[in-house]
Structures are given as structure tokens and as C-alpha cells.
């Protein structure tokens, strides 16, 4: 048993933190205010190898493991939550399924440029009428010779505006539910699709969230990941991994909120002493620090389990559930410690609250995580035996 990072992991942490301190923290508030996609930051992430972290070097990636990815995700999100989710989607939801289900031709064509950051990816599962109930999707891809003809609308697509490679989950056999679902890679340059409205969001405002509109888009059959009917498995296994990234994003947001609140508590005076000397403030700080550590351990456990090739779905669900709700609590307390200054934009506390909120919703709501965890727990503890 060991909780010390290897040299490589330490190096990743240092690099990511250096980048976050120098490049992200100074502009995170501006990115939030303007809502502009941080294109130059994303380009620099690519230079660091952070857009395809757990992809083999052979396929253009950095060749790190999932623990390194989780560590980097925390640090980048600590600097800027919007940049964090852009990175998370490209790594977890686009590179990862192509890496696991793609054939060599598909990897060469998409995984290499995605991992190198020459292209940016998005993942399209949710629809206006189906979120948690993914199998209730309506988008269809009907076979016509060597092509699928895709029709439907996808919703809440992170990176939707900028991405030009889309991992799209569709019904190839609408008469079936789960079994009729397939995964396609849609190359927007070759087979353009429509971009719907860009959502105006509570937080992570620098990342775009759009709908994608498919109207008779003809996608070559060779773009399918795995077999027909594999799509639900592709989507769910992808989200298992994605949850590690989102959990780490939530952790990074909590970490910076905590650091700022701690610094503030050491400066701000009231009743003749620093507010950090009051028991009430100290209790908040102690709980924040403890919960942050608990979340980090859950995330590392999920990442290491994935690296070891174990069944990690329960661990990643626990990590995501706990880290996202922890982040909501911690950012809430951080704002409270700042008092009125926490509520205005002169400080960052209110932004962290807004940025943290989505982590309880996307890539599986807290409610979905609880269903996953309850199912696994009852199985393990022998319900009904």
C-alpha cells in the first residue's frame, strides 16, 4: 500500500500546476466573463500532451496512465474549470472510446490528430428528450449501402461549436432499445452537420455547449466504432472513465476555492483578530480540507483500478458522486468565508460555486451515480441471499 506519487506522476502534477498558475489562473475570471473559448490555452494543453494523456505514443498520445490524467485534470481545473472540461471531453469521451473500440484505420485518421490536439472532439449522447435515460434516444442512423443516414438532434454537447470530430451515439435499429444502439465517428469536415444554439450557462462559461443537428447526414459505415449494437456499451464504458475526469475537475475547483478561502481567512480581520482564528471559520476550513482529501483518494482509487484493468465502474461512480457534491459544499463554504466579497465578482468565490454546479449533472447525474453504486453494493453485500 502506498499513496506516494511516482516521479512521472509528480512531474505531471508539477507541469500541470505550473501551467495553471502561469497561464490559467490569471485569465480564468476573464474567460468566465466573456464566455470566450480559450483557444490558445487549448493549443498549449496540446503541446503539454494533455489532450491525449492516456493514449499510446504510437497513436499520438502522451502515453501516461489514468492516474496521471486524473492528476492533470485536477490541476488544470484548479486553474480554469472551463479549460478543464474541454480537456476532459477530448481525453475521456473522444480519445478513449476510439482507443478502445476503433480499428487501426480509425485510430490513424482520428485518434492521432485528436490526441495531438490538431483536432478537437465532442461526444454526443444526450438529446432534448433523453438524458439519464440514454436508451430513450431518438436519433437514428439508417443503413443505406455503404452509408448511414443520420437524423436527429443531440443536446448539451460540450465543445460542440469548436469540435470537428464527433463520437455520436445513435439508433441503427430503432426497433430495439439498448441492443439497437451503435457508435459512429462523424467527421465534421467530411460530413458536415448543423450546430444549434450555443447555451448560455450558469458556469464553465468558456466551454461551448451546443446542440448538434443531423439532417440526412450520410456517414460512411467504416466510421462505426465496434459492431452494430455495441453503441450502448461504448457509451456506458466511456462514461465510466469520463466520470474520473469530471470528478477530478470538481476536485480542482474545490481545491482552488479552498486555497483562496484559506488565504482570505489569514488576511481578513474582524473583532480585532484574523477571521481564521475563529472556531467557526476553522471548522469550515477543517471540513473543506478533509473532504477534498477524501475525494482525491476516491478519484485516485478509481483511476488506479482502471489502470490495473479492474472493474472500476463503482469506484468511478463513487468518485464522481462524492467529488461533485463535495465541490458544491466546499465552494459554498468558501464563498461564505469571504462574506459579501464572496458574492461579488471582485473575488472568484462566486465563480467557483457556479463552475462546480454542473459536475453534479453532466456525465451522469448524482442520481445516476447512486443507482450504479447501489446496484454494485447490493450485489457485493449479497442482497437477497
Amino acid at each position: 500500500m502506498d499513496f506516494a506519487l511516482t516521479e512521472i506522476h509528480e512531474m505531471v502534477r508539477k507541469e500541470a500546476r505550473r501551467f495553471a498558475d502561469a497561464e490559467l489562473l490569471p485569465v480564468a475570471a476573464k474567460i468566465d466573463k466573456t464566455g470566450e473559448f480559450p483557444a490558445d490555452k487549448v493549443r498549449k494543453l496540446a503541446e503539454l500532451g494533455f489532450l491525449g494523456m492516456a493514449v499510446d505514443e504510437k497513436w499520438g498520445g502522451a502515453g501516461f496512465d489514468n492516474l496521471a490524467y486524473a492528476i492533470a485534470m485536477e490541476e488544470i481545473s484548479r486553474g480554469c474549470a472551463s479549460t478543464g472540461v474541454i480537456m476532459s471531453v477530448n481525453n475521456s469521451l473522444v480519445c478513449d472510446p476510439i482507443k478502445r473500440y476503433g480499428n487501426d484505420a480509425q485510430k490513424k485518421k482520428w485518434l492521432v490528430p485528436l490526441a495531438q490536439g490538431e483536432r478537437l472532439g465532442c461526444f454526443a449522447l444526450s438529446e432534448p428528450g433523453s438524458g439519464s435515460d440514454a436508451a430513450g434516444m431518438r436519433t437514428t442512423a439508417i443503413r443505406d449501402g455503404d452509408h448511414y443516414v443520420v437524423n436527429g438532434t443531440k443536446n448539451w454537447i460540450t465543445n460542440g461549436k469548436e469540435a470537428d470530430v464527433c463520437v455520436l451515439i445513435v439508433h441503427t435499429d430503432p426497433s430495439e432499445r439498448h441492443a439497437g444502439i451503435s457508435a459512429l465517428v462523424v467527421d465534421r469536415k467530411e460530413t458536415p452537420y448543423g450546430i444549434g444554439k450555443v447555451e448560455d450557462k450558469l458556469g464553465i462559461k468558456g466551454s461551448s455547449t451546443t446542440s448538434l443537428v443531423f439532417e440526412d447526414v450520410r456517414v460512411p459505415v467504416e466510421n462505426r466504432l465496434g459492431e452494430e449494437g455495441d453503441g450502448f456499451k461504448v457509451a456506458m464504458s466511456t462514461l465510466d472513465g469520463g466520470r474520473i475526469g469530471i470528478a477530478a475537475q470538481a476536485l480542482g475547483i474545490a481545491q482552488i476555492a479552498f486555497e483562496e478561502a484559506l488565504a482570505y481567512s489569514r488576511e481578513r480581520e474582524a473583532f480585532g483578530k484574523k477571521i481564521g482564528d475563529f472556531g467557526a471559520i476553522r471548522e469550515m476550513l477543517a471540513d473543506m480540507a478533509t473532504e477534498i482529501d477524501a475525494a482525491r483518494l476516491l478519484i485516485w482509487q478509481a483511476a488506479v483500478c482502471k489502470d490495473e484493468g479492474g472493474r472500476y465502474g463503482k469506484y468511478s461512480a463513487m468518485a464522481k458522486l462524492y467529488a461533485s457534491e463535495m465541490s458544491a459544499r466546499v465552494t459554498h463554504k468558501a464563498l461564505q468565508i469571504h462574506g459579501g466579497y464572496g458574492y461579488v465578482k471582485e473575488y472568484n468565490a462566486e465563480r467557483h460555486c457556479r463552475d462546480a454546479r454542473i459536475t453534479e449533472i453532466y456525465e451522469g447525474t448524482s442520481e445516476i451515480q447512486r443507482l450504479v453504486i447501489a446496484r454494485e453494493t447490493q450485489k457485493e453485500l449479497g442482497a437477497g441471499r
Partner: protein
């Protein structure tokens, strides 16, 4: 390298504890809840090598790690909290003798602890008016003129297995006020002037005795002083750093037992009304319970592993204790509510867990003290 797996030896001793806990001990635990001291289990724990897990093998101990200790303790607590706390205080006291004692002291006491020749060991720090503020303790130890013994006078409170112990590690004041005036002594309860006061009647852990101790002119030989004069507070704090990992593990073990009893009870009844969506509400609570226990256990393991690696771990131990004991209380409360609502056959067991787990937020440093410890380092800029 980050690695969540125990070593082979750690896994073996945890498995041994698990086998005993889930067999004999689970069947007997109800008896000890009725107030009977778990004498049989205490002897069995010694036989299994679980009473001196970290003591060196040359003194009969298992020579293993803190990770091994908390892993085994969690398994025992799963079945019986009273037995677990007896195991915890005995291991902790033995570890202090192994850490701070001289060869003669180790030879004299550790073998008896490891072999089960003594049922348990005890740790006497708290007093009627010194709990969280331990450095203000008032029990006095006055050196004799010839330096051959100390005379101890004072009263200790809340001493786990204080009436059953073969040795009582006692903190007493040899010098001036404050932490630096405190020394540690290995007191043989057979010495004249040592007396057991009232047995507390407790909400939970009813099989483990909790007593007051009276020291009335107890003459303790100088060779039973643990380390030099003035290190008593350091001994106590070192004991508590490790002890807090243990209490965290105990709490996780008790709560895991409650969660399992809940899940199995629900499985047996199968009467949860699906039409009202109650199944999902129960599922959600189970998910929250399992998640908090998982996080709690990781914090306990992290603090324990740091202790094994010789790294500073006061803050990590405090985090583990406050998080684990509060998570465990949450789990036992929720389990009790659900078990009662559904009239489960396992609710008696869950009720015992709820009563047993409550004190974990209090002893070996209350939740409030843990938060003070954590925040002190943070605000001082050490975090």
C-alpha cells in the same frame, strides 16, 4: 507508487480476523452487548496474533504494520464493537511500550500482551476535569528521595478495560504545569493503592468495561517509567495519532456491519413498495452510505500508511478519525431508520451498531478536537 493493495502479510492477518469475526464472534456479539465482558474473544484475539499486531516478533508480537492493524480491527469491529475496542486499546498500549520502552519493559509486558496472559492493556489519560484539554491533567507522580519509585495520586476517568487490564499506561504530572510536566508510567494494577472506581453504564460498547481509576499513594518503581521524565504528553499524542486511525477503522467496521445487515435484511423481506418509488429512495441511501464508508476507509488507510512510512500524519489521522466516525454514525443512523421502517429481522443488530458507534465521535479526541488539529496546521500556513 500509488497502490491500494495491502501486502500479502497484511492481507493474511485481515483475512484471519475476518474469518473469526464472521464466524464465532458474530454469533456471540449479542451476549457482550448485554454487558458481559468479551473475555473469550479477548483470549482468542491473542491466540490469533491480533493483540500485538505491531509489536516486534521477538516479544511475541506479529511484527506487522499499522495498515495490518487497522485492516484487522475493521474486521473485528464488523462483528462486535466491544471486542474491537478491547483489541484497539490493548494494541495501542503495547505499541507505546514497543516504541518508548526499554528492553526490560518490553520483555516484561509485551509478551504477556501478545500471548493473552493478560486479557487487555489500558491507557489512562483522561480525568474528571481533563478530557480534550489533556495537558491540564492533575494526577501527580512524586519521585521518592532515593529515586527508586514514584508515588502516584489522582483519579482517571473513562478508562477502557481499566478493571481488566494487566498493565495501565498512566499519564501523571512529575513536573510543572502544561504538557512538558507530564510523564508516562507502566502501572501494575496489583500495586497497593490502585483502585477501580465506578463502572459506567453506557449507551453502547456495553461489553467493554469503562471505569474510573483511583491512584492513592501507588508506588510505581522508577524502572516502570516509560522513557525519560517529561515525555508523557508526547507518548500520549503519539498513541492517539495511531489510535485515531484505529477508531476510524473500528467505526468503519461497525458501520459496514450495519450496512450489510440492512442490505441482507431488505433482500430477505423483498417487501419494499415499488409503486411508491421507495425502492429507489432506499437504493439512494445505500449508495450514500457505501460511498461515505469507502472514502472513510481510504482516509484511514492513507493515515495508517503514512505512519508505516514514518511520515508526519497527525493531520491525516485527525482527518481519518473525524470523517470516518461521522460517516459511520451517518450510516448507522440511516440503516436504523430503514430497518425500522421495513421491520427488518436484522434491526436488532443494526440498533447495536448504532449504539456502539456513537462514542467513536467522542473518545480518543472528539470530532471538535480533530477539527482543531486539522485547522491549526492549515491556518498556521503549514497546509
Amino acid at each position: 507508487m500509488v497502490d491500494f493493495h495491502p501486502s500479502a502479510a497484511e492481507a493474511v492477518i485481515a483475512a484471519k480476523a475476518r474469518e473469526y469475526a464472521r464466524g464465532t464472534l458474530a454469533q456471540q456479539a449479542g451476549r457482550y452487548d448485554d454487558g458481559e465482558f468479551p473475555e473469550g474473544p479477548a483470549r482468542e484475539l491473542a491466540r490469533l496474533g491480533l493483540m500485538a499486531i505491531k509489536s516486534p516478533t521477538e516479544y511475541g508480537g506479529a511484527g506487522l504494520t499499522q495498515v495490518a492493524y487497522v485492516s484487522a480491527l475493521r474486521e473485528i469491529a464488523w462483528a462486535c464493537g466491544s471486542t474491537a475496542v478491547t483489541m484497539a486499546v490493548t494494541n495501542m498500549t503495547g505499541e507505546m511500550i514497543a516504541t518508548f520502552g526499554d528492553d526490560a519493559q518490553k520483555d516484561r509486558w509485551l509478551r504477556k500482551i501478545a500471548s493473552g496472559e493478560m486479557l487487555s492493556a489500558a491507557f489512562a489519560l483522561s480525568e474528571p476535569s481533563a478530557g480534550s484539554d489533556a495537558s491540564s491533567l492533575g494526577t501527580k507522580a512524586v519521585a521518592s528521595d532515593d529515586g527508586s519509585f514514584y508515588t502516584l495520586d489522582g483519579t482517571k476517568s473513562w478508562i477502557t478495560t481499566g478493571d481488566r487490564a494487566g498493565v495501565v499506561l498512566t499519564m501523571a504530572r512529575t513536573g510543572g504545569p502544561g504538557a512538558k510536566g507530564i510523564s508516562a508510567f507502566l502501572v501494575d494494577p496489583a500495586l497497593p493503592g490502585f483502585g477501580v472506581l465506578r463502572h459506567e453504564s453506557k449507551m453502547g460498547l456495553r461489553g467493554s468495561s469503562t471505569v474510573g481509576l483511583a491512584f492513592e499513594g501507588v508506588r510505581v518503581p522508577t524502572h516502570e517509567r516509560l522513557g525519560p521524565e517529561g515525555i508523557g504528553f508526547r507518548v500520549a499524542m503519539t498513541a492517539l495519532d495511531g489510535g485515531r486511525c484505529g477508531i476510524g477503522a473500528q467505526a468503519v467496521g461497525i458501520a459496514t456491519g450495519a450496512l450489510e445487515a440492512l442490505v441482507q435484511g431488505l433482500g430477505e423481506r423483498k417487501l419494499v413498495d415499488r409503486r411508491l418509488g421507495l425502492t429507489q429512495l432506499v437504493d439512494f441511501r445505500i449508495a450514500d452510505m457505501a460511498t461515505r464508508l469507502e472514502a472513510a476507509w481510504l482516509l484511514v488507510l492513507r493515515a495508517s500508511q503514512r505512519k508505516d512510512a514514518g511520515l508526519p500524519m497527525t493531520r491525516e489521522a485527525a482527518m481519518a478519525k473525524v470523517f470516518a466516525t461521522e460517516a459511520a454514525n451517518f450510516v448507522c443512523q440511516r440503516a436504523m431508520e430503514l430497518a425500522t421502517a421495513h421491520g427488518l429481522g436484522t434491526r436488532g443488530r443494526i440498533a447495536r451498531a448504532l449504539r456502539d458507534v456513537r462514542v467513536s465521535r467522542i473518545y480518543e479526541g472528539t470530532s471538535e478536537v480533530q477539527r482543531i488539529v486539522i485547522a491549526r496546521e492549515l491556518v498556521a500556513g503549514l497546509g
